[in-house]
C-alpha cells in the first residue's frame, strides 16, 4: 500500500523511489557478486567487501577462503561495477537519444550507434590512429564512431525539419549493417591486431573481461553527463514538444541538440569500448521508467540510470549462470528480452498514428 503511494504515477515521490532503488542497487551488487559458476555466499561477499574499507580490515574473522577472496575482488566486483556503470550509461544514453529524435524507439543499438562505435574502435586499434592517447585510444575512437553515426542517422531521418520515424529506423538498420560489415572485414583481415577484443565481443557485448582499470573513464563520463542532463532537464522536456515550440519556450534548440549529440556519443562510445554492444537497454529501461513516473526528465534520468544498472547486472548474472561453466554474451540475452518489447512498442506507436 505504501509502495503504491510512493510509485503513484500522478505524484511520484522521487526521493523515496531513488532511495529504494539505491538500496536495491547495493543489494544487487552484493548478491550478484556472489553469484556465478563459483558461488560465494552474500554474507561472505559483504564481509570481504567491508574489510576492504580502510579501517575495517580487522572487523571480521576471515570466514572465507583465499579463492573466494580472489574471485570477489579480482573478478566479480569489477564486473558487477562495470555492469552498473554500463547499464546506467546505456539507459541514460537511450533517454538522451529519445529526447533528441522525439521518439521512444531510439536506442544506441537500434540506431546503429553501437555498431559505429565498434567499427571505429576496431579501425582505431588496427591502424593505431589514436594510439598517442594511450589507454584511452580505444574509448576515443569508439566515441568518434558513435558521434559520426548519430549525426548521420539524424541527418538522414530529418525530413523538412522533422524526424521521420520510418527513415530513422531504416537508416539505423542500414548504418549498423555497414558498420558491422566493416568490423567483420577488419576482423578477418587482421586477426592478430585485435587481441582480446574480437569482433564477437563487439557485436554481442560482454562484461567478462572486466578489470578495475576499465571502470574509471566510463564512470567519470557517466557522472559528468548525468550532471549536465539533470541541469538541463527542462530543456529535454521542452524539446519533446517539438523544436519550434522549444525555441518559443526559451530553449536554444540548436545548441541543446548539439550538446545532446555530444553527451549521447560520449556515453555510448566509452561504454561500448569496454563492454561491446549490449543492445536494447536504452530502449527497455526508459520505457519502464516512464510507465512508473511519466515523462518528466527530472525523474526519468536518475531512475533510468539506477534501473539500467540493476538490469544489466542481473542479466549478466544470468549470462554467466545459464550454461556454466560456459558464458553467454550478455548482449545476446538483452536482445532476446528487448527485441520483443521493441516490436510491441513499434506496433503500438503505429496504431496511435
Amino acid at each position: 500500500m505504501k509502495l503504491k503511494k510512493i510509485f503513484n504515477r500522478e505524484n511520484p515521490n522521487l526521493l523515496a523511489i531513488v532511495i529504494i532503488l539505491i538500496v536495491l542497487a547495493v543489494v544487487t551488487m552484493i548478491v550478484a557478486t556472489g553469484l556465478g559458476p563459483v558461488s560465494v555466499s552474500p554474507q561472505n561477499t559483504a564481509k570481504i567487501l567491508i574489510s576492504q574499507i580502510p579501517g575495517c580490515n580487522n572487523l571480521f574473522e576471515p570466514t572465507w577462503t583465499r579463492v573466494e577472496y580472489n574471485i570477489v575482488i579480482g573478478l566479480r566486483i569489477p564486473r558487477v561495477c562495470l555492469g552498473m556503470i554500463v547499464g546506467a550509461s546505456l539507459a541514460v544514453c537511450g533517454v538522451t537519444m529519445q529526447a533528441l529524435v522525439r521518439n521512444n524507439l531510439a536506442d544506441p543499438f537500434i540506431l546503429g550507434v553501437s555498431s559505429g562505435a565498434a567499427a571505429f574502435a576496431t579501425l582505431g586499434m588496427l591502424f593505431g590512429v589514436f594510439s598517442f592517447l594511450g589507454t584511452y585510444s580505444l574509448s576515443i575512437s569508439a566515441f568518434i564512431g558513435s558521434a559520426v553515426t548519430i549525426i548521420f542517422v539524424y541527418m538522414i531521418s530529418r525530413v523538412r525539419g522533422r524526424i521521420n520515424i520510418t527513415q530513422l529506423l531504416l537508416s539505423g538498420v542500414a548504418i549498423s549493417m555497414i558498420m558491422d560489415g566493416l568490423t567483420q572485414i577488419i576482423k578477418l583481415s587482421a586477426p592478430n591486431a585485435l587481441g582480446l577484443h574480437n569482433a564477437e565481443f563487439w557485436m554481442s557485448g560482454s562484461l567478462a573481461g572486466a578489470k578495475w582499470a576499465y571502470l574509471k573513464l566510463p564512470l567519470i563520463v557517466l557522472i559528468i553527463c548525468m550532471i549536465f542532463l539533470q541541469i538541463n532537464y527542462r530543456g529535454l522536456n521542452v524539446l519533446l514538444l517539438g523544436e519550434e515550440t522549444a525555441g518559443a519556450l526559451g530553449v536554444n534548440v540548436k545548441l541543446l541538440q548539439k550538446e545532446l549529440v555530444l553527451v549521447a556519443s560520449l556515453m555510448a562510445g566509452v561504454t561500448i569500448a569496454v563492454s561491446g554492444t549490449i543492445g536494447f537497454v536504452g530502449l527497455m529501461v526508459p520505457h519502464f521508467t516512464r510507465l512508473l513516473v511519466g515523462g518528466d526528465h527530472r525523474k526519468v534520468l536518475p531512475i533510468s540510470a539506477l534501473l539500467g544498472g540493476i538490469l544489466v547486472v542481473w542479466v549478466d548474472v544470468v549470462a554467466r549462470m545459464l550454461i556454466a561453466p560456459e558464458e553467454l554474451p550478455v548482449g545476446i540475452l538483452t536482445a532476446i528480452i528487448g527485441g520483443p518489447l521493441f516490436i510491441y512498442m513499434l506496433k503500438r506507436q503505429t496504431k496511435e498514428k
Binding site: 541541469i231 522536456n237 519550434e244 515550440t245 525555441g247 519556450l249
Partner: protein, 258 residues
Amino acid sequence: MKLEVKNLCYSYGDGDALKGIDLEVAEGEFVGLIGPNGSGKSTALKNIYRGLKPDSGSILLDGEDLLTMPFKKSALKMAVVGQENEVPFDFMVEEIVAMGRSPHKKLFEIDNEDDKYMVHHALEHLGMENMAKKNYLHLSGGEKQRVLIARAVAQESDFYILDEPTNHLDISYQMQIFDFIRRLNVTVLSAIHDLNMAALYCDRLYVLKNGEIVLSGTPEEVLTEENIMNVYGVRSSVTTNPITGKVSITFLPAGINK
C-alpha cells in the same frame, strides 16, 4: 511598438517562402494574418517566434533586436500557441502547462510554490483544473489546444503568437478559444484560416499571398468582395452584420449569381 518586422525573408531551400515581409503590431492590438494555404503564414510566424531563423531582415520586439536576444529573454516576452500538439511521451496536463514556467527558471532551480500556483491558476482560467492529472495524449483536440493556451498563460508574457490555434476544432471551441484570448487583454498576432473569425476578433489584418504581404488594414478595408476574389479566387457577398457591427462574408458557390 510591440513588434516590428522589416523585410523578412526566408527560404526552405526550394524557392522563397517569404519575400520581404513588413509588419507591425502595436501594444494591445489583436492582429490577424490571413491568406491561402501555403502563402507563408505559418513560416512568417515561425520566424517571428524563433522556430526558424530568418535569411535576412530585422525583427524588433519591444524595440530590441529579437535575433540576437537570448532565448530565455524572448520567451519571457512572447508566448506561442502553435498547431503542433502531438507529444510523443506520456505527460500529464499539469506537466505540459508547467513547461510554460521554464523560461522563468534558473539553472538549478526546481519548481516552487509560485510555479505550482501559476500552473493551477492557468488551468483554472481555462476551466481545466479537473484535468490536471490527466494524460495529455488522451485529451480531445479542443482540450489539447486549451492546455497549450494554459501553458502560454503560465508563461506570463503579454504578447501571444497564435498559429491557427483553432484549426480542426469545431465552432464552439473556436469561439471559446478566441473569446478567452480576447479576455486576457494581451497583444496578439495570429494566423487565422477562417475569414469570418478574423473579422470578428481582429483589430487589423495582414494578407499574405505567395510569401508577400499584399494587403493590410482593418477587417472592413481588407475583407471586400474584390479583395477576396483577388486573393482567394472565390466569389463572395460581404455585408455588415447588424448585431456584431462587423463584416460578414458569405461565399457564393457556382451557379448563384448576385
